[in-house]
């Protein structure tokens, strides 16, 4: 018989296990197995992806957003090419609304790693005073993030761009390939993605087209923090709980930055808080937290009942808003 039945129990000959009995061990003799922890497996997969892209594209770039995922991705890039330097530049899309600590951290990090750092801003839109309060968040993101990204990639003529997005972040991201094909306008067509089998990636594109690559596709938020802990990867201080001045609006904690527009009579209060995910200051809410260290952040993560992006204003503008943004060229 070619259909083997190797399982502990077979429902064709039901044998009720005695109450409370442990699961019987599988009958298969187990070969000597590599017992790599799942973090090592994820790391190996990501490094494989980084090396493939660096070897198959002419002008790859790593989008560096300063957050925890970017920090992990950057470390993986160091590992992938060690002892050689990282063979592509980093590109930060700066909306002008990033927290001060983020910008300082970015510049230090690039210097330490020895990578070339490029910064691209949609200067005309920034000069015109684009902000999420005057415009809606969707249009603000469209100009300061999506448009800036597309312009920046085109300016430098990059044909592949790494992003730190994970599939567990959001349900349209869960649908995206590791090599996400983008047409000449940077757009994603979710209904017509290239098949992607095994670890064989199709890097072929016509001039003007590009690939967005997500080496952290299979990582979860928990994996990222565990890796940061194990590898002692530096992250921005905003992730750690501290007494910080905040405007408290209902459930929301709004951090104070130069761009903040207070309501009449509104006063900031000191609140022990931190950011779970880093974005633009007007659109990123903080959470109340006592987690001042990475182990405490991991413990806190185990207790969360809401997703990482629940504190982001931008993803909720509209049903399927992330998908729409991605189709327009967003990461």
């Amino acid at each position: 018989m070619s259909v083997l039945d190797i399982f502990p129990e077979s429902s064709s000959q039901p044998v009720a296990p005695p109450a409370g009995a442990p699961e019987p061990a599988p009958r298969l003799s187990q070969p000597r197995l590599s017992r790599l922890s799942h973090l090592r497996q994820l790391e190996a997969e990501s490094i494989h992806i980084l090396r493939e892209v660096a070897s198959e594209f002419e002008r790859p770039v790593m989008l560096y957003s300063i957050g925890k995922d970017s920090s992990v991705m950057l470390r993986l890039a160091q590992k992938a090419f060690y002892p050689a330097p990282i063979p592509f530049p980093l590109l930060h899309i700066d909306t002008g609304f990033k927290f001060r600590e983020m910008i300082e951290f970015r510049d230090n990090m690039a210097r330490e790693v020895g990578a070339e750092l490029l910064v691209w801003r949609n200067e005309p839109a920034i000069a015109a005073g684009t902000n999420p309060i005057a415009l809606d968040t969707k249009r603000c993101c469209g100009l300061l993030k999506t448009q800036a990204l597309l312009d920046g990639l085109r300016h430098y003529n990059f044909d592949a761009a790494f992003g730190g997005a994970r599939r567990d972040e959001e349900k349209s991201r869960a649908k995206e390939r590791i090599y996400s094909f983008r047409d000449g306008a940077g757009q994603w067509d979710p209904k017509n993605q290239r098949p992607e089998l095994w670890n064989l990636y199709n890097a072929r594109i016509h001039p003007g087209e590009s690939i967005r690559v997500f080496p952290l596709s299979n990582w979860t938020e928990m994996d990222v923090w565990q890796y940061i802990h194990e590898e002692k990867i530096p992250v921005v201080d905003l992730y750690f709980a501290k007494e910080r001045p905040m405007y408290v609006r209902g459930e929301s904690l709004l951090p104070i930055e130069q761009s903040f527009v207070a309501l009449p009579g509104e006063k900031p209060r000191m609140v022990k808080s931190r950011l779970r995910s880093l974005g633009c200051s007007p659109c990123t809410g903080a959470i109340r937290s006592d987690a001042g260290t990475i182990p405490e952040i991991i413990a806190e993560l185990l207790s969360f009942r809401s997703s990482e992006r629940a504190n982001r204003v931008i993803d909720h503008d509209q049903e399927g808003s992330m998908e729409l943004k991605k189709r327009e060229g967003y990461f």
Binding site: F7, R173, P195, D290, S307
Partner: protein, 589 residues
């Protein structure tokens, strides 16, 4: 908000427990609407793997009765999917239990999106095939089971779903189990890959036997689906398999260091090991295994590392480093199962790009042995998997073919190695990924021939060998006499397949001038053939057919159908030795 002071969380204990967990990748399969996404949603929900805001965002939506959450919406993340109530592309989801981490690929059942199912299953250790208890085994259940078997997904869990609609009937479950077992046997006989199947009655909507054992089916005493998933033997690579390591990149930060970056596809590597670089056949020993975190004493699959050898040998991206004791097969002719995934059907003899491990080589499908007929049948279980002859493969069709590669590569049988036995085909014009291939056999190329083929001078005159590798044929003369329309087609077919041709028309008339012209034409043809071109000397006549001479061989074409012309011309070129590897000089008179 947690108060950390009072809870006894120890990061070291936690990380130790996490490290002890292994990783299992599984996918779903089955016909459209059998409940795959609902099942995954239920699994995530009942294991508390979804956040509250994610549940809130789907409450009151979807296709289910009021008050009943439509769990499929947890994975059907595209707008088009929610509008149409079907899955279009794979959704990847992640969850873990106390024992294991899981990566789920929830794939679409709709026939049109079969390639996305193949995408999701290609990396899976296990697949859950769903069967709707109220409908029984459907053609698409069979197609998916076949693909899963072809891809060598090791475990098949057959979830007979919607038991609530079948009155939780033991008879119904038994009947489906009997049908599907027979089918799995048939499939295993055809693919040569036995699957290890287990049947389980569930209701994804009601949650019966998904995470918790159900009270509704006292006749079933087996484990729940989650219990089964947790108890499957880990499907990681065995360390004792022979070493396979595809070089992705040569790292040369300075003159003193030269390392080969790649991922261990199988086996274990240690300093001192004797290795062979394929296809060149050069040998060396491992000097160091370098990583950012320090040198390693050994590395096994699937680690990504950098290997340094004890001597300078010429290795570049695309080479396969293998254990000298158990090398892979170097070949230019392979036989493989193909799953065709493109709307434009397979064109035999046309040049595609074949991506295997870390290299890309031009390849043509020289022959289609058969197609496996998996199309809709009223009774899928009655049909034996008789093979049908085929001249092409269309979207979602599966067949066995022979491929001819223009450069030798080192391969294993897919049955022996899932990474070095797999490839994809890419269409050079559209850049689409058009097929997934699994190697069944490879004709070993004698090392001397492989070495010759690989020899490419970087300086000096271009050799015939180099032209062959680029163009896929040797030089030669074809005399075409007869229908000009068919001659045009022959030229076009060869052109489209990427051959380099030169067309010459014979001069009309007689006399001294004619003889002179004819002689100069012969001379031109001779020169061009020596330079590696396929020269077509066309002599038009009023005939309805076309006679083609090549060396001492001849074929008569009486059709303008490009596919048939292609087949016949290729047979002729093969007979005339123009497609053979260039051990001989191009053109002998």
């Amino acid at each position: 908000m947690t108060t950390l002071a009072e809870n006894k969380f120890s990061i070291d204990d936690f990380m130790a427990a996490e490290r002890a967990k292994d990783l299992l990748r599984f996918s779903t399969a089955g016909s459209v609407d059998d409940g795959k996404s609902t099942l995954i949603g239920r699994l995530l929900y009942d294991t508390q793997s979804v956040y509250e805001d994610q549940v809130r965002s789907i409450e009151g939506k979807g296709t289910t009765a009021p008050g009943q959450i439509d769990f499929a919406l947890l994975t059907d993340g595209l707008r088009a999917e929610r509008e149409q109530g079907i899955t279009i592309d794979v959704a990847y989801r992640y969850f873990s239990t106390a024992r294991r981490k899981f990566i789920i690929a929830d794939t679409p059942g709709h026939e049109q999106y079969t390639r996305n199912m193949a995408t999701g299953s290609s990396t899976a250790d296990a697949t859950i095939v769903l069967i709707d208890a109220s409908k029984g085994v459907l053609p698409q259940s069979r197609r998916h089971a076949y693909i899963a078997s072809l891809l060598r997904v090791r475990y098949v869990l057959v979830a007979v779903n919607k038991m609530d609609l079948a009155g939780y009937s033991e008879e119904r479950f038994g009947a489906i189990k009997a049908d599907f077992s027979a089918l799995l046997d048939q499939i295993a006989a055809d693919t040569g890959n036995p699957v290890e199947a287990r049947f389980i009655p569930v209701s994804a909507l009601a949650g019966d036997n998904v995470v918790h054992r159900s009270e509704a089916m006292p006749w079933y005493s087996g484990p729940s689906l989650l219990e089964l998933l947790e108890s499957l033997p880990p499907a990681q690579q065995s360390n004792s398999a022979p070493l396979r390591f595809a070089v992705q990149r040569v790292l040369r930060p300075d003159a003193s260091f030269r390392g080969f970056a790649g991922q261990v596809a199988s086996g274990t590597v240690r300093p001192g090991d004797a290795i062979t670089a394929l296809p060149s056949g050069r040998t060396a020993r491992i000097a160091r295994i370098v990583t950012f975190d320090g040198d390693l004493e050994q590395a096994h699959a699937p680690l990504s590392v950098t290997l340094v050898l004890d001597r300078e040998i010429d290795i570049s991206r695309g080479d396969l480093i293998v254990s000298s004791d158990a090398p892979a097969t170097v070949a230019t002719e392979i036989e493989a199962s193909l799953v065709w995934m493109d709307a434009q059907e397979l064109a035999p003899n046309r040049r595609y790009l074949l991506k295997h491990a870390s290299h890309v080589v031009p390849a043509v499908v020289a022959r289609i042995h058969h197609r496996v007929p998996l199309e809709s049948q009223s009774d899928p279980t009655a049909q034996s998997l008789a093979h049908t002859e085929a001249t092409t493969l269309g979207m979602n069709q599966i067949g066995v073919v022979s491929l001819r590669l223009l450069r030798p590569i080192a391969v294993d049988r897919y049955g022996d190695n899932r990474l070095t036995g797999a490839f994809i085909l890419i269409d050079q014009a559209s850049n689409s990924t058009v097929a997934a291939g699994m190697i069944r056999a490879a004709v070993a190329l004698p090392q001397s021939q492989a070495a010759q083929l690989l020899q490419t001078a970087i300086t000096g005159p271009v050799t015939s060998r180099e032209r062959f590798v680029r163009w896929g044929h040797r030089g030669g003369v074809l005399a075409l006499t007869g229908s000009i329309a068919i001659a045009d087609q022959v030229e076009r077919v060869l052109f489209q397949e990427g051959m380099v041709t030169l067309r010459l028309e014979t001069p009309a008339g007689e006399g001294a001038h004619f003889r002179e012209e004819a002689a100069s034409l012969d001379q031109t043809a001779h020169c061009a053939a020596q330079a590696g071109l396929l020269v077509l000397i066309v002599t038009a006549s009023d005939e309805r057919s076309l006679i083609v001479h090549a060396a001492d061989h001849q074929a008569t074409l009486s059709t303008e159908d490009p596919q048939r012309i292609s087949t016949e011309i290729h047979a002729l070129l093969t007979e005339a030795g123009m497609l053979a590897q260039p051990w001989r000089p191009d053109y002998e008179i």
